[in-house]
Structure formats: structure tokens, C-alpha cells
Subunit: 299 residues, 2 copies
Amino acid sequence: MEKNLFNLKKYLSEKCQLVDCALDAYLPPATQYPEVIFEAMRYSVLNGGKRLRPILVLAACDAVGGCADVAMPTACSLEFIHAFSLIHDDLPAMDNDDLRRGKPTNHKVFGDAIAILAGDALFAFAFQTITGETRGVPAEVVVEVTRRIAAAAGTGGMVVGQVVDMISEGQAADAKIMEFMHAHKTGALIDIAVISGGLLGGGSDAQIDALSTYGKKIGLAFQIADDILDIEGDVDKLGKPIGSDVGKGKSTYPSLYGLAKSKELARRAVDDAVNALDMFDERADPLRAIAQFIVDRES
Amino acid sequence: MEKNLFNLKKYLSEKCQLVDCALDAYLPPATQYPEVIFEAMRYSVLNGGKRLRPILVLAACDAVGGCADVAMPTACSLEFIHAFSLIHDDLPAMDNDDLRRGKPTNHKVFGDAIAILAGDALFAFAFQTITGETRGVPAEVVVEVTRRIAAAAGTGGMVVGQVVDMISEGQAADAKIMEFMHAHKTGALIDIAVISGGLLGGGSDAQIDALSTYGKKIGLAFQIADDILDIEGDVDKLGKPIGSDVGKGKSTYPSLYGLAKSKELARRAVDDAVNALDMFDERADPLRAIAQFIVDRES
């Protein structure tokens, strides 16, 4: 199997470093007036995250034979959008979380007003970065990628998923609502990561379709794995308390399907994701290995 | 003078109606699941606003000889961004306002969490609308307009202005900080409205420069007029209490320069705006009349 021949750990570490450099370079310096907003933006982006979404953009661009450089601005944009969503989700008016990866959340450090604005600023900056920094790609493709990312972040995805999460709070949602919620809240951004990489790399319609299937399946696997980690994970590696979802009375895959069945569902989603990449050559090996990694990770 | 020959009231009313129809048509229906977010988005957009920013986009497009149809998606996008900024500014963590145009603010109706998300959704939807609905314009221009709007809404404008407003709260800012704040908080979006219209209409570099000068000057006039209305306005027409800025200890043009001098500054800004349009023919008459209107308005 490819995953054994391919050194994923090395790949992820190298790409992560590239992405971290680019994020730092794109973000305005914290010395710019008014400093507090740029400090707050940098605090939540430059936090040692796994950079899963940016790496998926780059890996998908590679998979279709594109040059990953053209995808770096979009890769960073998705990390800005991810950071924006975490800042807003953590607010007292939303999930009211004090810790994120073991560090105080943005509003605990900068206050609620600046946290709201830092999220807004990162969201704007994401679109500024895609449209302002992308080179070597036809403008039509930049427009299409921007349109799809805006939809995936907003009313066609992430924001709508968070709304469903909010209105279902304290009550056990049924499987249909839970799946809608996850597919929108976390799935849409993972899906658009691989689609964007494919579009920027000049992928064919068939390749984009295959990448989209892959993206949906790993998004699903990611969420099931998250729910399992919430039960079986290691608190030090997770950076948040175990059982926090269960404690909030939220529906999870294990609460609806049981632990054994959930693990089987995750495994099947990974297989489906890998199978969707059949038409690709070895340049899709990173994507194949990432699918595996998503259910094997510890945080 | 042109403003006497041109029926601005009729022009504004006709354009306002066109914009209202387009806003309604672009926004997802409130019957879509999860309904509450679409209701909240529609509540704050379809509120009988003056539609100043969209009308400026259309008028600037007309002024350079473009077909205003190509600018309608961008015109609506700026109204979505304006509505997003008002929802977030009104939040308890920010200005904590209960009323907006005499109606309960978004979070008073839908709660803080949905209000934050409705703002986020409108911001995303703005970029989705520009990139997804613009027709008959080269993709390069759509990319450039999107980039400039993202900058004007975020770290190059509106959000940064709100940050300065927040961190200056309860203290009288000096003239330099107050001017920075206004130029970013409200000026940037007005400026980008006319620039966008000019770019979408195919304006030359010289025309875009002239429109930008016009935009900066009317933005300034708009703010000074706002500060004067806060002292001399009619509470019923304004839809908010008189003296609210003064009551919060905020610096205003009248507090720094006195009322008479402020009126003179507003008048001079309007003159500068109109003079900046010297190179344009009668197709810029709406812009000329709007400059006048901005200081003569009652709300």
C-alpha cells in the first residue's frame, strides 16, 4: 500500500513549515497601528496548528500536476478562515471556551470586542490574500475559487453548520441533523480545500469531481475521529478536556451509533476517500496518506 | 449648477428600488434550513435603508460610461458588508446598541450568537455575490474589485476603524486619531464604492483616481454631517437619540472644531468632491448631486 512507501510525517512537517512561513509573511506585522488587532490576528493564526486545510490545498494541486506555489495564497486563506471560525465559535455568546490547544482563547487574551473584530479581519484578509497574491493562474479560476470558498465558509457551509450546532445545543440531535451540521461546519471547508487545490492546479472536471468525493469522505472521517477522540483521546495531546461533547449533551457518532460502529464508519469513509483517487498517479500519494492519518491522529 | 437641473430625489428613489429588488433576489429565502440565519440576514439588510453605498457604485459606473447592470452584484455586496458591520458594531461586546433606525438591533431579536453568525454570513455572502453574479466584466477586473473591497472592509479600512473606535472609548481622541478612525470605519467603504463602480464600468486610471478623490471627500463630509446631526438632528428622522456620541464622551468634529467650523469643513469637502469630477460630463451629475445631499440630509 502507498501509505507504507510514502513518508507522511516528513511530508506534513515540510509542508507545515512552508505554510507557517507563508502565513507569517502574508499577515500584517503586529507593529502596525492599531497594534492590538494585528496581534490578535497573529495570536490565533500562528499557534502551531496542524495546517491540515492548507496542506490539503497544496497536496490536491500537486495531485493534478499543478505547481503548488500557485496554490499557497489560497492555502493560507483557508487557514485564515479556519482561525476566524475558531475565534468566533469560542466566544462567550457561542461555545464559551476558555482554552484552545491548551492556550487561552482569543477573547480571553484580547477581550470580546477585539476577538470579534480579529475574526472579521481574518475573514476579510482571506479574500484579500486569494485575490491579491495568487499568481500564474487565469483570473477566471481565481474568481471561481473565491466564489466557492465564500459559499463554503458562509451560507453554503461553515456558518450554517455553526448555526445548527447552536440551535441544537443541549438537545440530542438526530442522525440527519448531526450529519447536516458536520458536513457544513467542518466538512465544507475540507471539501473546498481539495477542490481549490485541484482548480488552481488546472485539474479536469473529472479530477475535480474525484477530489470533491475524496474531500467529503475525509471530512466525514475527520468528524467521526474527532468524536472518538473526545471519548478515547489523551487530554495532553488533545489540549482540551475529554468528554466535553458528551458533557454538553451533544449528539456524536458514538452516542448515536456506538463506538465500534463509529470506528467502522470512519474506516469505511477513509477507504471511500482513497478509492475516489483511483484515477490519479503517485502524485496523489500524499492525499492517500492524509486520509489514513485523519483517523489515526491523536489530536 | 447641475444639482438644480438634476432631480436627485427621483434618482435616489428609483435606484433605491432597483437595489432593494436585487438585494431581495440575491439573498437566500428565509424558508431555507436553518431558517433563523436567513431571517436574521434578511432582517438587517431589507430594512428600508438609504442604500447610499450601492447607489454610489451604480452612479460611478454610469459616470465612466459603463452599463450599471454589471455593477449591481458589487453594489449589493457593499450593502451586505455594511449590514454585517452594523450587526457586529451593535453587539453588547461592542457598542451595545438596542435600536437601529428605530427598530430593535439584530441581537435583540435573534440573540448574540445568531447575530454574530448573521454578520459573518453576510460578509461571506458579499464575496460570493461579487464573484458569482457579476457578468459582462473581464475576470481580472472582478479579481481586482474583490481584492480592493476585502482590503477596504478589513485590515485596510472598516474593521481597523472600528478597532480604533473601541480602544478610544470613553476618552476624547485627538483630531489625528479621530480622522484615522473615520477614514477607515466609514470612509473606506464609501471610497471603495465609487472606485468599484468606476472599475466595473471600465473607467480609465485618471477617472478612477478622480473617483477616489471624490469618494474620500464625500466620506469626510458624510462623517462631519453625521456628527452635526447628532447635535442638531431630529430624533424621529434619525431613529436614534440626539447627543448619543457626545454622551459617550467620543470626539466629534463639533467637539474638536466647534459647530460653525465643522459646517465649513463639511461644505469645503463637498466642494472638493464636486471639483474632483471636473473631467466627467453630465453622466456624473448624480454623483455631484449626491455630494450635496450628503450634507443636506436629515438622517
